[in-house]
């Protein structure tokens, strides 16, 4: 497995109080690819994802050990260090959540919001150019260019999720974390978002957490299989899904696949 690394973890451990949710995770996230993290409910997928931009800090009693490095930016150093600039980190590592969490504001304001927080741009024409650019990236510009003043919550769920992705893109991140980004969407909208992710991977490193095995198989280039807080296997998606090295991946992934299939019938 040869790739340029975007994020690397070294013996990452995470505790919620006395409970250890992640155990000695050492893994490399490839640059400009899609990495899926799969595993049964409660295995630590979202917890791992939230380490990459320190979102777990919001959970009381969380304790982290080990090192986590984001390459291309040496200034950040160990992301797990206490004195890290969290605002700079979360600008570099954007996140999209399960349900589209658009603000109860216009489409324009939803996109301008991040630019203001990070004091990136102030001139109106520059802001508009960035808004156009980000909406074009997510395939919404043609539909929304004349409706930028409309409340974002009036959009369809798929459009709202695209807008959330545009809201991340406008801050020019390098890494985008996606936590079950399609779980609120219907199958057709899901496929369209997956197509969008395949386009975005040319410019960004994406990490997607999904309990949907089929989605991980369809969309990702690399897959990590987590089980009870441990990274059981990491490899190219084709290999993990057709010829896993670990027996546990083989047995558990078959069960998960069947579980997913029964959910879909």
């Amino acid at each position: 497995m040869e790739f340029k690394t975007s994020i690397e973890t070294f013996d990452l451990n995470l505790f919620y109080g006395d409970f250890q949710a992640l155990k000695n995770i050492s893994m490399k996230i490839p640059d400009k690819n899609i990495t899926a993290i799969i595993g049964p409910s409660g295995c630590g997928k979202s917890t791992l994802l939230r380490c990459f931009n320190r979102m777990n800090d919001l959970v009381e009693g969380t304790r982290l050990e080990g090192r986590l490095v984001i390459y291309n930016d040496k200034r950040l150093g160990n992301v797990l260090a206490n004195d890290i600039d969290l605002i700079a980190l979360r600008k570099k590592v954007g996140m999209v959540f399960q349900r589209p969490n658009v603000f109860n504001l216009s489409i324009y304001e939803n996109l301008r919001f991040g630019l203001c927080i990070h004091q990136m741009l102030s001139k109106k024409d520059e802001i508009l150019a960035e808004i156009q650019n980000s909406l074009e990236h997510v395939g919404l510009w043609n539909d929304l260019k004349d409706k930028l003043g409309k409340n974002a919550r009036s959009l369809t769920l798929e459009q709202q999720q695209r807008l959330c992705i545009a809201r991340v893109l406008i801050l020019k991140p390098e890494i985008i974390l996606l936590d079950e980004p399609c779980s609120a969407l219907d199958p057709m909208a899901t496929l369209k978002i997956e197509e969008l992710l395949r386009i975005l991977r040319k410019e960004y490193s994406l990490v997607i957490v999904t309990h949907n095995m089929q989605q991980a198989a369809r969309v990702s280039d690399y897959t990590g299989f987590l089980y009870i807080g441990e990274l059981v296997e990491f490899g190219e998606t084709t290999q993990v899904f057709t010829n896993p090295k670990e027996k546990l991946t083989e047995n558990r992934s078959i069960l998960l696949w069947q579980e997913n299939a029964s959910e879909n019938t």
Partner: protein
């Protein structure tokens, strides 16, 4: 368009299958020439090149498995991938028949033949023509054409029948020709089997278009 990437993968599988089909058809053509011209060097090349056919088949089969595992195809997409997996197996076997004929050319060497080849090249050319048209029928999703090609297998069977009985008579009349005549029966049988495999390919086209699996023509051999 949703699943554009998936469509590209399926198109690539079709391209790979056509490429394998062309390579196999070329091998059959070379085997016919090698037998007609008693060209041992050409026959050795056919034997060596069979591994190219085998490699292409494995690569495409692996790509089919990956696509099924990763993209969860359904309906006509699933039928197409399953059909391609079966067709490449038949194509690879046809490659083996060409190799089989080439090995017989090598065994025969420059030894005079027990009888002129007569119907053997004709039977082989017929099988080759059926093969080329069967790939075309698949690509064009032409199930009528596929059914028609299946029916043509009877012509090949008749030609084989004739060759087989002629050679058998020779062996009975002149037992010292048994080895030589047996080689020719083997070569004929290899060519006859090509047409049988072509009917399998045609049945996969019918399966792809109609969704129904059916045996169209049961070969006598």
């Amino acid at each position: 368009m949703a699943r554009e990437r998936f469509r590209k993968h399926i198109n690539k599988l079709e391209d790979e299958m056509m490429d394998l089909g062309c390579t196999v058809a070329a091998a059959v053509g070379h085997a016919i020439s090698a037998l007609k011209n008693r060209d041992v060097d050409a026959a050795k090349k056919i034997v060596n090149d069979d591994m190219i056919i085998n490699r292409k088949r494995w690569e495409t089969e692996e790509n089919c498995i990956n696509l099924i595992a990763l993209q969860q195809p359904v309906a006509s997409d699933l039928r197409e991938i399953v059909a391609i997996m079966n067709i490449i197996t038949d194509l690879e076997r046809i490659g083996d028949y060409a190799e089989g004929v080439a090995k017989i050319v090598i065994l025969l060497g420059k030894e005079p033949l027990v009888k002129p080849l007569d119907n053997i090249p004709q039977m082989a050319e017929k099988g080759l023509d059926m093969l080329n048209r069967s790939i075309k029928a698949f690509i064009e999703r032409d199930s009528d054409m596929a059914k028609k090609i299946c029916d043509e297998d009877d012509e090949v069977d008749k030609l084989y029948d004739k060759t087989y009985h002629e050679l058998l008579s020779r062996m009975i009349a002149k037992p010292d020709t048994i080895t030589n005549a047996t080689y020719l029966i083997w070569a004929s049988h290899n060519f006859e089997r090509i047409a049988d495999r072509v009917t399998n390919i045609c049945e996969r086209t019918i399966f792809l278009v109609t969704g129904s699996m059916q045996k169209i023509n049961v070969s006598k051999y």
